[in-house]
Each structure stands twice: as structure tokens, then as C-alpha cells.
Symmetry: C2
Subunit: 105 residues, 2 copies
């Protein structure tokens, strides 16, 4: 299994509409990606390691799929719609990563 991680760096002065991201964008993404996504998580940053540290990322999400190709196959038909929607909630360029899941509990 693989995980697609999409993370928005916490930048001073940047715009991020967490309500739109959590309640509009991500539900739309999950609906469009369909059965290729086996599980998903959406998070909003609280802090760094310690309570008085800013979170490195203002928001992050992850999609678990069987293979990277499965994700591409599900995402590419909707790429324009999903990527075009990003500007609605943020001006931050996300950091995107494909990883292999080694342990999961």
C-alpha cells in the first residue's frame, strides 16, 4: 500500500481557508477519487513538537491507495478540477509525496 501526502507549509502572511478545505475541497476530492482511495485523513496544524512552536504545516491530507498508479488513474481525469480548486482556499503551494507504507496499525 502507498500513501499520497499533500502538505501545505505554514508561511507568514499566506492565506488558508481551513473551513473550505475541510468541508468542501476534501469531500469533493474523496468523492472524485472514489474507490481508489482505501482510507484518507485530513488534518489542521496545531503546533510544532512543543505547544509554543508554530506547526510546520498549516494543513495536510493523505490518501492510502493500493499502488501509485491507482492514484494517478483516479486523479488524472479530475486533475484540472481539483488543482483549479486549490486557489479558492489557499495561495500556498503544497508539498506532495508518494510513500510506501511499511507499518500500519
Amino acid at each position: 500500500m502507498i500513501k499520497v501526502s499533500i502538505q501545505y507549509p505554514n508561511k507568514a502572511g499566506a492565506r488558508f481557508d481551513a473551513d473550505y478545505y475541510v468541508n468542501k475541497h476534501m469531500p469533493m476530492a474523496l468523492k472524485l477519487l472514489g474507490d481508489a482511495v482505501k482510507s484518507a485523513s485530513v488534518e489542521i496544524g496545531i503546533s510544532g513538537a512543543l505547544p509554543d512552536q508554530a506547526p510546520p504545516f498549516v494543513a495536510m491530507c493523505s490518501f492510502v491507495c493500493e499502488t501509485v498508479q491507482d492514484f494517478y488513474d483516479a486523479f488524472l481525469p479530475h486533475a484540472s478540477l481539483l488543482q483549479g480548486d486549490i486557489a479558492v482556499y489557499t495561495d500556498i503551494e503544497p508539498v506532495i509525496q508518494m510513500s510506501e507504507i511499511k507499518l500500519s496499525s
Copy 2:
């Protein structure tokens, strides 16, 4: 529920022993943290968004707990042991974040 994310930036020339991390360090961490961790995931980076891009992080893990305080209470008694073990597998300083889980499927 909250998620603790610990991510190791992919730096040229840095050292990271993925085998030790996945098979020794993380099982030890999960055992020591005990019931405070409701679920966990350990990943090794494959690529960026596209197959020819390097992954932003060489490895990442996450712990899901009820509260940030639950994580601190479980982690602090073992902080010296767990943090001291990092040098065994890497010379990369991890990026650590506490986040609130907003959607989980």
C-alpha cells in the same frame, strides 16, 4: 483526535537506515508509547508528485492519540531513550508537528 507527524527531510548526502527505522526504532517506539497511540503509520518516501521527482521526505511516521497531552504523557518518560536512538539510524533532524484530525476514513 490528534496526529503527531514526524518527518525526515530528504537531504543530499544525509544518512538514513530505513531498515533499522522500520524494523527496530518504530516497533520500540510503539511498544513504549503503549495505549496512548490509537493507530500509527510508518512510511518510506518513493517520489514527489511525479515519478521522476525526489520525495520531499525520506521517511515519515504518525501517531494518532486522543489528545496532545496524552502523547506528551506517554512520550516524556521515554524521551531520552527514543530521541537518543535517532542517531543510530539518521543524522537528519526530523520535522515534528501536532495536528487536529478533521476527517478520517
